[in-house]
């Protein structure tokens, strides 16, 4: 380590919310709950789908863990897993975009921030897309936009319901306008799926904001939120700076969104699969429309 490193200031922008950077499944035997600070036996936590049995705190999950919890055993068939982002703007910020990508790939074992494919849920075939916040904040660039769009198109062609689980900071800045246009692209794909009379259930997990809340993830027939998840358009820091006042305590939580009519329900992770199965049963495609 160069000597300079010793004197380096602590990263002053260490994420306030440590839940987001923490590895999805921690090493060791005990984990301290980030909700109630109580120690939890990891085996028990895993059995409980990473939900604290004492305070109901929902630990963040990786995309594959989510699919594991939602899809029927051996039913998931991943598609387009080899799509990788390019660097269309040759973006170099404090860090080069290419370096961020490599780092994210190494950290997560994923090629980008979303996993898509076909799966069975309670015996019903669905198209599913699950985002992973660990990959550059789950941001939507070309690859996320393209995979979501392909997944929606596949669902339209094969007359399948769509399930998405979102977790994203919004559009990926490093790809500039190309990222912003992914919002329009995915929304258009969803519009066409919807016009075919097919169902779409969107699960918003902690945190979902920016370009992802302002596009495909809120265009579903049914929107489900995980308890206490942050869901909003603008980040709280931006809002505070703009309006120069403190924000209400439960501002932009799942509960806030439920009160204001922005989501259909808040569902505990332990009940998620069953709830989706029950909903899909009501959302039987009527087979009309054209």
């Amino acid at each position: 380590m160069p000597i300079g490193e010793w004197f380096k200031k602590e990263n002053k922008r260490a994420p306030a919310d440590q839940t987001l950077t923490k590895r999805a499944i921690p090493d060791g035997v005990w984990e301290k709950c980030l909700g109630c600070n109580e120690p939890i036996f990891i085996k028990e936590l895993e059995r409980n789908l990473m939900v604290c049995s004492k305070c109901d705190y929902h630990f963040p999950l990786s995309a594959y863990e989510r699919i594991y919890h939602l899809a029927d055993p051996n039913s998931f068939e991943e598609l387009w897993e080899d799509l990788c982002s390019e660097d269309p703007l040759c973006f170099i910020g404090k860090k080069a975009y290419m370096d961020s990508l490599v780092e994210a790939k190494n950290k997560t074992g994923l090629n980008d921030a979303v996993i898509c494919g076909r799966a069975g849920i309670g015996g019903r075939k669905v198209a599913i897309g699950v985002m992973d916040f660990r990959f550059i904040g789950g941001s939507m660039g070309s690859v996320v936009g393209e995979k979501i769009t392909r997944m929606v198109e596949l669902a339209t062609d094969e007359k399948l319901p769509i399930i998405t689980v979102s977790s994203s900071g919004g559009a990926r800045m490093q790809e500039g306008m190309i990222s912003l246009m992914q919002m329009a692209k995915t929304s258009t794909a969803v519009a066409r799926h919807s016009k075919s009379g097919l169902p779409y259930i969107s699960v918003l997990s902690h945190p979902t904001s920016g370009g992802v809340t302002a596009s495909f993830s809120t265009l579903a027939d049914i929107i489900i939120a995980e308890p206490k998840a942050f869901i909003g358009f603008a980040g709280p820091r931006v809002i505070e700076q703009t309006i120069k006042q403190k924000l209400p305590k439960d501002f932009q939580t799942a509960e806030f969104n439920l009160t204001h009519g922005m989501v259909d329900m808040i569902v505990n992770r332990l009940d998620m699969k069953r709830t989706i199965m029950r909903l899909l049963d009501y959302l039987e495609p009527s087979g009309v429309v054209e």
């Binding site: 080899d82 703007l89 074992g109 358009f233």
Partner: protein, 332 residues
């Protein structure tokens, strides 16, 4: 009166002020200074060209934000006839950050929707600096539906720093309002022409900012995030805004090159506010041309082509076999 000027315009403004002084002296008949005046005029012309012909991305953003820059309402006045403004989202209120209504473009009946900024401080505050709340986008969607129902082409004007980040906006579903607007545009069975006349700030601009043709004024910008926001997030606030602007690739020429927009309308030297009617005339030409082209396309093709345009936006590659890290989870 003191003119508004950015730092890079200062030397020019100083010379111009000097010229005004000389002219005043001359008209007072105090001295014969015609030679000096004509010399200074030439100098000013040269300096103006030098100042404005090679603008950096950040300088263009500054011009896009210039307080004297013509607003949507100015273009509506200059380009269309018989404008009838429509108000309200029928749910909550009339958001005056969005203006919209019927108008005629060379006698073709159209629907116009645009962001609306003010011309002075008082107006700017009243119009929330062109930053709509959800009800603004819901008004836009309402007008789009009318346009669709009565087969009126939709022409939108983009000029916003972004959708408003505030408590009320979040309470009333800013994100959902934008998403629904995106969805609405995607299925419209009429031509959709977008004119970016100033600031194209993120999702708040995109909500009414894509369609069958996207036209940009030379000094307008269109960006995934404001340069300032980008600095604060990707540079931890320690980078320069000039650098961030450059790398975001948000200028009209760059976006034309990338195929995101279709056409760039040149502005008078120094920006549209130097000769607003000239800028409006140039923009009108392109609007008329786009409308003519699109009116030849069948409804079905129109919607298909709009989708396939978007469908082609994205840069990605396939990972090489050895690099494919996933796939090993096939069996879960």
């Amino acid at each position: 009166m003191k003119r508004f000027a950015y730092d890079f315009e200062r030397p020019l403004v100083e010379l111009e002020t000097k010229l005004e002084e000389l002219k005043r002296l001359e008209s007072a008949g105090k001295e014969d200074i015609a030679v000096q005046i004509s010399y200074l005029e030439k100098q000013i012309q040269k300096l103006r060209e030098r100042t404005y012909s090679n603008l950096t991305a950040w300088q263009k953003v500054q011009i896009a934000r210039h307080p004297d820059r013509p607003r949507t309402s100015d273009y509506i006045e200059a380009i269309f006839t018989d404008f009838i403004e429509l108000h309200g989202d029928r749910v909550f209120r009339d958001d005056v950050s969005i203006i919209g209504g019927f108008a005629r473009l060379e006698n073709v009946k159209v629907m116009v929707v645009g962001h609306r900024k003010g011309r002075n401080t008082k107006e700017s505050i009243a119009r929330n600096f062109g930053m709509p709340h959800p009800e603004g986008y819901r008004k836009a969607v309402r007008l789009m539906r009318i346009a669709n129902k009565f087969k009126l082409p939709l022409i939108t004007f983009i000029d916003t720093p972004g959708a408003y980040p505030g408590i009320g906006a979040e309470e009333r579903g800013q994100a959902i309002a934008i998403a629904q607007s995106l969805m609405e545009i995607s299925v419209l069975e009429v031509p959709v022409i977008v004119a970016n006349i100033g600031e194209g700030g993120s999702g708040g601009a995109l909500a009414i900012g894509f369609g069958d043709r996207i036209i940009m004024l030379e000094n307008s910008y269109y960006s995934v995030i404001t340069p300032e926001g980008c600095v604060s997030i990707l540079w931890d606030g320690e980078g320069s805004v000039e650098e961030a602007t450059e790398v975001l690739g948000l200028t009209s020429d760059k976006l034309l090159e990338m195929g995101i927009v279709d056409c760039v309308v040149r502005e008078p030297l120094g920006g549209a506010h130097y000769a607003p009617s000239l800028a409006a005339r140039e923009l009108k030409k392109e609007l008329v041309k786009a409308l003519e082209d699109l009116s030849k396309v069948s409804t079905k093709d129109l919607v298909e082509q709009r989708y396939s345009r978007l469908r082609h936006i994205g840069y990605y590659t396939k990972a090489r076999e050895s690099e494919t890290l996933s796939g090993k989870f096939q069996n879960i």
